[in-house]
Symmetry: C2
Subunit: 321 residues, 2 copies
């Protein structure tokens, strides 16, 4: 695309970028300038067409998703996502596509109180990278702080997005309300923004679920030098998933990716207060197990017998790998 | 690529990432945590295979380049590039390629005093995005501060990279020392790190040259609401370029991209002091013209006649657009 087209796009983003007093220099120079003090969390995530979203995904899905996956990382750190940079790679510049992309991006940015401080536009295969920066709400919540005896909590419900992905990979047309719910859970992951200020107060360790509960929780256990025992019966399932895939629901909850829920380790004495504070902020938390000292991840079925652990489900793109 | 491969790559980067006291949490969690105070410059740039570098470019060229283009933006802002995040998209994970990429990336990171604080690894068409963050050396140097009567200075020499690109697009084998120099100037852009602390003291406005002198300088003039008159005879040319392309050299200097030199507007009374300070830090600066009040960019030939302005040369990838 030509330089003139780039200028048009840049002006377009600038009009919608938003403002904050602590953004001293925004879109249009060699870089942005922000005013900050103290400890800042900083994340970056890329999503690629045909890998992290279907090649025919609507542009607002792409715009929403690239911001959502980064916001989810900031939440898991216990950070306030104040400022964003967007690096967008496009094969062609189509105004309707960009308009739609911006609708998805800026709607979520508005919810998160996040302004677009700058970015980069390049030509190439469709891909989007966002980097977010912002202050911690308190101490940094890492993967490494889980303690033996902690309760393991998870937000929302699990497995929905993986079921939604299958619907998206089919004809993409939901057959009923349950399928519509699941498809929406895949297409529009909702970062648990309300948990960001609560995690530093209540959680010893946290991370967000992108690759599936077992896969991601393993990272926390490894970083913390501990193990865990999960209860299959306690995994929170949506009514839609239970109705859509009654046989598979628990397996999807254990191993399905793209949920972008938060899993965390919490002192049992703090659990009730945390769950009440989260509920007051609109997020349900469920206790799904506890941290153990044997450095293994076990899942127990309703009879208390160990359930064989499923292999990590793969991302969309790995289907054609 | 599999999760196991990703873990290997992550460990590999972690070993070479470097450390700073103000990097509180580095590679391996949901995000990085840095300790900062005051005004921070923040940049992001993506480079795509076949667009910003040839598809067959050696991996260390890619690793060097993605960091160099971002460092150049930080220099132009007058900022200290302390911390980096890298989002790397690879079609396959090849250890030899990654090793070579890291050689290019970390050699330059070491020169710049920059540590890798984290990143993201994804599967997809080869592309690399870097975001850099760091404190300003003083005030932010923007594109908008040029004043009528300012001298326009440029670092190094112009046009070399564009001539080097043609060599790279040919058989890539330099025929002589001049061609080897030019090819190297294209493959390994050298951000003018030494200018970062000097620009806030001496320059009213600055930017780095990625798209060519005329194209990029126009952005500064527009942002500053001024014009400029450049002297064709004053454009700094390398001996190699003058020998390799005597007829074309000045046109390449005006319009060739990928130089990553710094152009800036400086009060004439400060010019000598700035040039001396830059020379002491190893960077040559050349006065190539002055800022005017007529909001146009003019280039005068040796007889003082206006030279027709060349269209902006295009990036590598635009050749096959």
């Amino acid at each position: 695309m030509s330089r003139g087209e780039f200028d048009i796009i840049r002006d377009y983003f600038r009009r919608r970028a938003g403002q904050r007093e602590d953004l001293l220099l925004g879109i249009g120079d060699d870089g942005a300038v922000v005013k900050a003090a103290g400890e800042l969390a900083w994340v970056v995530d890329t999503i690629n067409s045909g890998v992290h979203f279907p090649e025919d995904a609507p542009a607002h899905v792409v715009g929403h998703r690239v911001l959502a996956v980064n916001l989810s990382d900031m939440v898991a750190m216990g950070a306030d996502p104040r400022w964003a940079l967007l690096a967008l790679t496009l094969p062609v510049a189509e105004e309707a596509w960009l308009d739609d992309f911006c609708d998805g991006f800026f709607r979520l940015a508005g919810e998160a109180g996040c302004v677009l401080a700058g970015g980069d536009l390049t030509r190439g295969p469709l891909a989007a990278t966002v980097t977010l920066l912002g202050p911690l709400h308190g101490r940094a919540v890492t993967r490494a702080g889980a303690r033996v005896g902690d309760d393991i909590l998870v937000s929302g419900t699990l497995g929905d997005a993986r079921a939604g992905l299958d619907i998206a990979l089919g004809d993409g047309a939901p057959a009923d309300g349950a399928e519509a719910f699941l498809l929406n859970r895949y297409l529009y992951p909702a970062p648990r923004l309300a948990l960001a200020p609560l995690l530093p107060r209540y959680a010893h360790a946290a991370l967000d679920l992108s690759d599936g509960l077992c896969a991601d929780l393993s990272h926390m256990l490894e970083a913390s030098g501990v193990g865990a025992e999960l209860s299959l019966a306690e995994l929170p399932l949506s009514e839609a998933l239970a109705a859509h895939a009654p046989e598979e629901a628990r397996r999807l909850a254990l191993a399905g990716g793209d949920d972008y829920e938060i899993v965390c380790a919490v002192d049992p004495g703090q659990r009730e207060a945390f769950m009440a504070a989260a509920a007051a902020a609109g997020v349900s938390l469920t206790r799904i197990g506890r941290v153990t000292d044997d450095k293994e991840l076990r899942v127990l079925d309703e009879a208390g017998e160990p359930e064989p652990l499923p292999g990590s489900f793969r991302h969309f793109g790995d289907h054609d790998a």
